[in-house]
């Protein structure tokens, strides 16, 4: 099972995402932003980091890179895509997910171990969990505040597009504690927290994050 990890200039957590895929039993395949080549992968992870320094807006420049055009097209055909942190920002900027991520309400970068409530356990990336389950994974961002116009938030919630919500404290002022959302078909998921940093007891606060990667592997077996 081949899962692509897309590296942009300034991607940082690509090594972590690849490790998580390996630990889940998949084969990580490095993808390069400037190529027009998805290398026949079965799914794609957009990792965390500061693509192009996030100097303009987090994810804005990366969302306009050559390979992202291919990712958007493939996602339209049902390719599972996971965006973590900067990857989530890229997905919103690319229009694959609704809403936007902006400066944290307290204006600081914040890194802490975060409780998350799983609200959708039926997406390509969350089937290993159960609805209502609480998991702990690291969160770390400075522009992680999920926002949208109130009417859009109502719609997003009404359509059940919220995948995970912050619990035990909102780390960045996200609207309605939203930590991650999905596309209508449940194949594209983006979240600010970092499941790939919670895959080994030695280095993470838990191994709760592994489920994202095992989910997509089993989704691909069954589909």
């Amino acid at each position: 099972m081949r899962i692509g990890v897309l590296t942009f200039p300034g991607s940082l957590d690509d090594v972590d995402a690849a490790r998580a895929i390996r630990l889940a039993g998949g084969e990580p395949v490095p993808l390069w932003h400037g190529d027009h080549d998805l290398k026949d992968v079965d799914a794609v992870v957009l990792p965390g980091g500061f693509s192009y320094g996030d100097y303009l807006r987090a994810g804005a420049i990366a969302a306009r890179s050559p390979l992202m055009r291919d990712v958007v097209a493939a996602a339209g055909g049902g390719l599972p895509v996971l965006g973590i942190c900067n990857g989530f920002q890229v997905l919103c900027e690319a229009g694959l997910l609704p809403g936007a991520l902006t400066r944290n309400s307290h204006l600081h970068f914040r890194n802490r171990d975060q409780g998350l409530l799983v609200e959708r356990a039926d997406t390509a990336w969350t089937s290993a969990y159960t609805t209502g389950q609480t998991i702990v994974v690291p969160v770390k961002n400075g522009e992680g505040r999920y926002v949208a116009a109130p009417a859009d938030l109502d719609r997003i919630e009404g359509e059940g597009r919220v995948v995970v919500r912050y619990t035990g404290g909102n780390p960045n002022g996200s609207s309605r504690d939203i930590a991650g959302v999905t596309s209508a078909d449940g194949r594209v998921v983006g979240l600010m927290p970092h499941p790939e940093h919670a895959v080994e007891a030695l280095t993470g606060p838990s191994t709760d994050g592994l489920g994202f990667f095992t989910s997509v592997l089993s989704a691909m077996v069954t589909s």
Partner: protein, 783 residues
């Protein structure tokens, strides 16, 4: 021709007195032109020496080069004679590259080598906190990269004025945001550091940053220019007018009588803006270049920019190098040649590349969007020459610029107030007695800005990136895995108690070494090597010079006794406000090795029912203690007695306990003594303890005697036996469990301890509004 005419040749704009460049030929034919050497910080005898070396007056560009390279910062002219003590330490098997390179390199086993170094960026961080701190991190990361290593983690050691001083509210949030902004954007986990407050740093905060990198033995790279015909490639950011404030004297000198006010001298900023994104690309490009074996030598551009890089590369190599300055890519086309040579624009490196490999080198840079330009080559002979617009403006023996600068034995004098200070024994202070007074003192110490929870700061740093962080703050040592298969890893700690150093710099430096050593040891690692950053006042002040010399002597003696090499470091002098120097602040870093990081020992208690043991011996020692400082605002007496053999025994014991899996936690005792350590271990996971304090409660809780640690175990008998064999005294303190720390009538609930400990920094710096103005319009990496 008048002096001003000679210098004005630098400028080609309108209103100039003359339009000729100050070339080597011109300098030879105008030997008597006056030059502004004093404004550039050179003494008359230093200037004469330059004239002697060159056999003529220096050109403007040469004068600029010598003046920066012979500055205290670059030449170590006041500190060199003392630092030799580190080089005189007995050879260590672990040391692969010693002092003199950008950073030392040590063998950590299994074919891995580790390079680490700490550097200061104190003054820039006061002027522009965010960018000053950010570029401090950027600079030390490039030093590590230059050695051929992948940087894997950073640490930061920070000191500010009083926590409640208004200026601290300006400086601290910006510094923290800058350290985080740069390191986070580079993808380097921050694994620890220090945060301390003292009035002496009010106008002079200390921002010391450490970086550690990992490579295979065969990957070590050195900064030398060898092989005639090899190319010098400048790569990374364009060159602008950053950080050449001092050197613009050369430009401004021409405007003495520009009363007609046609145009003023170029204003060159002394502060640089960091670009961590470019640095991240530089890292990835360099690592690809190293892997493909495309360089024969490499040097980062830091202080003194191209002057430093070219003269050091040439000086360390065969000696000859030629640079064509017109090829340097500029951000600002108005720069004069002297300014280009001096610019401290960030995120630049210079490599020496064989001609056949230049294309491959440039291709890697293109792939990473890194600008790279051939600017010169290695030449026969022993001269560094620089041309500008086809004319020779520099022709010097590079060693005289880079490595043979002035060296001073500055006068030294024991501070006049030291006897009185040492005689002011804290034994005279009223000590707390009875549960109420003890509880009040306890809460005061753990809620003081130095003792309080640092997560307001550490939450702004990414600790997880790269997925190898096994421990970070608030653990005693940062621990990083370097091999996922063998589980080999490293531990690092930084410590610099300046109160101890003020009371006795010789012992104080050793106490700091001992503390860093102990912090690494409690994690279960075997200490291997030492780095340091020596922050002191003005070396022209004999009392400061004495403090400096004593601290270096202490550190060298301590390292000898512990059998550890000093692999490198940094000296920061002139840290003072007006005439008042900071307390001598030698910050010491110790690196240790974990054969298996899965055996690392954390500081927090996780389980109830474990036995709490105190290792080591407690004496009533309060000189320079946190208790005396927090409760009485007192600094006096003697620091705690040093006992390096006891540190060694404790370190050996802790490594053995960790290897045998006998302890579930270990925490060293330092500032704030046992009270501080118990609080931190209990609050980590919310597990209390019921204790029986041996002897007098006050010294037991607050003394800062050395060579001590608290451990928890489910096999007290085995730990006791091991301690006995190691000759380490053991005292049973009690049992973990419950929601309080209880010792007889003295009881502190974890809730009240947590409230006291964790409220301090958020109350001082916490509200979002305090973040205003801490991040300038420039680089704002935020996600």
């Amino acid at each position: 021709m008048s002096a001003t005419e000679g210098l004005s040749d630098l400028d080609t704009g309108p209103g100039r007195l003359a339009n000729r460049l100050d070339t080597v030929d011109l300098a030879a034919s105008t030997p008597d032109d006056e030059q502004p050497y004093a404004e550039l910080g050179l003494r008359a005898d230093e200037y004469d020496r330059i004239r002697g070396i060159l056999g003529r007056r220096p050109t403007t560009a040469e004068l600029a080069m010598y003046s920066v390279m012979w500055s205290e910062h670059c030449s170590y002219k006041s500190s060199k004679v003392h630092l030799r003590r580190f080089g005189d330490l007995p050879p260590s098997d672990a040391l692969l590259v010693g002092i003199g390179e950008n950073a030392g390199v040590v063998d950590v086993g299994d074919g891995y080598a580790v390079t680490f170094k700490v550097e200061s960026h104190n003054h820039p961080s006061y002027v522009e906190p965010y960018q000053g701190a950010a570029t401090g991190v950027g600079g030390i990361v490039r030093d590590i990269l230059t050695m051929g290593a992948r940087p894997v983690a950073v640490m930061d050691s920070l000191r500010f004025g009083r926590a409640d001083a208004p200026d601290t509210a300006r400086v601290l949030p910006g510094v923290v945001a800058g350290v985080g902004g740069y390191g986070n954007c580079l993808g380097l986990p921050n694994i620890g550091g220090e945060l301390l407050f003292d009035d002496c740093y009010a106008g002079n905060p200390l921002v010391n940053a450490l970086c550690v990198g990992v490579m295979r033995h065969e990957d070590v790279r050195l900064a030398k220019a060898e092989g005639v015909g090899n190319k010098a490639v400048l790569f990374g950011a364009r060159t602008g007018g950053d950080g050449i404030g001092g050197v613009s004297v050369l430009a401004s000198e021409t405007f003495d009588d520009a009363a007609d006010g046609e145009r003023g001298p170029a204003k060159r900023p002394a502060v640089q803006v960091g670009d961590p994104f470019t640095e991240k690309l530089l890292i990835e490009a360099c690592l690809e270049i190293f892997a493909a074996d495309l360089v024969t030598g490499i040097q980062d551009l830091g202080g003194a920019g191209l002057s430093c890089a070219t003269s050091e590369l040439a000086s360390a190599g065969t000696g000859g190098m030629h640079v064509d300055l017109d090829t340097v890519p500029l951000r600002d086309s108005t720069l004069t040649p002297a300014e280009i040579l001096m610019s401290e624009s960030q995120e630049r490196m210079c490599a020496i590349v064989e001609p056949a490999k230049v294309d491959a080198f440039l291709a890697v840079c293109r792939r990473w969007d890194v600008l790279a330009t051939v600017i010169g080559e290695v030449t026969d002979g022993e001269r560094l020459t620089v041309d500008w617009h086809g004319e020779r403006i520099v022709d010097v023996p590079p060693r005289t610029v880079a490595h043979e600068g002035p060296v001073y034995e500055r006068p030294m004098r024991r501070p006049a107030d030291l006897d009185a200070l040492q005689a002011d024994d804290p034994a005279r202070l009223p000590a707390p007695s009875g549960p109420d007074e003890l509880r009040a003192a306890w809460l005061a110490v753990v809620s003081s800005p130095d003792g309080a929870d640092k997560s307001w700061v550490t939450e702004q740093y990414d600790r997880y990136v790269r997925g190898n962080t096994v421990q970070a703050g608030p653990e005693d040592a940062g621990v990083v895995r370097i091999d996922e298969v063998t589980h080999r890893g490293i531990a690092l700690a930084l410590d610099g108690n300046a109160r101890f150093a003020r009371l006795d710099p010789y012992t104080g430096a050793q106490l700091n070494l001992a503390e860093a050593y102990r912090n690494v040891a409690v994690s279960g690692a075997v200490p291997l090597a030492v780095t340091n950053c020596l922050n002191f006042g003005s070396p022209e002040e004999p009392e400061v010079m004495w403090q400096f010399a004593e601290a270096v002597r202490g550190l060298a003696d301590g390292c000898r006794e512990l059998g550890l090499p000093v692999t490198g470091g940094n000296v920061s002098l002139y840290n003072q406000t007006g005439d008042v120097p900071i307390n001598p602040t030698p910050v010491i870093g110790v690196l240790g090795v974990h054969a298996d990081v899965r055996r690392r020992v954390p500081t927090g208690w996780r389980a109830a029912g474990e036995t709490v043991l105190l290792l080591g011996e407690t004496r009533p020692e309060f000189g320079g203690s946190a208790w005396a400082s927090v409760v009485h605002g007192h600094l006096g007496g003697r620091p705690p007695a040093l006992d390096l053999p006891a540190e060694r025994a404790l370190g050996g014991l802790l490594a053995a306990l960790s290897a045998a899996g006998l302890v579930s936690s270990a925490h060293d005792l330092a500032d704030g003594g046992l009270a501080q350590a118990l609080t931190e271990s209990a609050l980590r996971y919310g597990v209390g303890a019921t204790l029986t304090l041996p002897g007098e409660p006050f010294p037991t809780l607050f003394s800062e005697s050395v060579a001590r640690a608290v451990v928890t175990t489910s096999d007290a008998g085995a730990v006791r036996a091991a301690a006995e064999r190691a000759g380490v005294p053991v005292t049973e303190l009690g049992t973990t469990g419950g929601a309080a720390l209880t010792a007889g009538e003295l009881e502190l609930s974890l809730d009240e301890l947590r409230a006291a400990w964790s409220a301090t920094l958020p109350a001082l710096f916490g509200s979002p509004a305090d973040a205003v103005g801490t991040v300038p319009a420039g680089t704002v990496p935020t996600s």
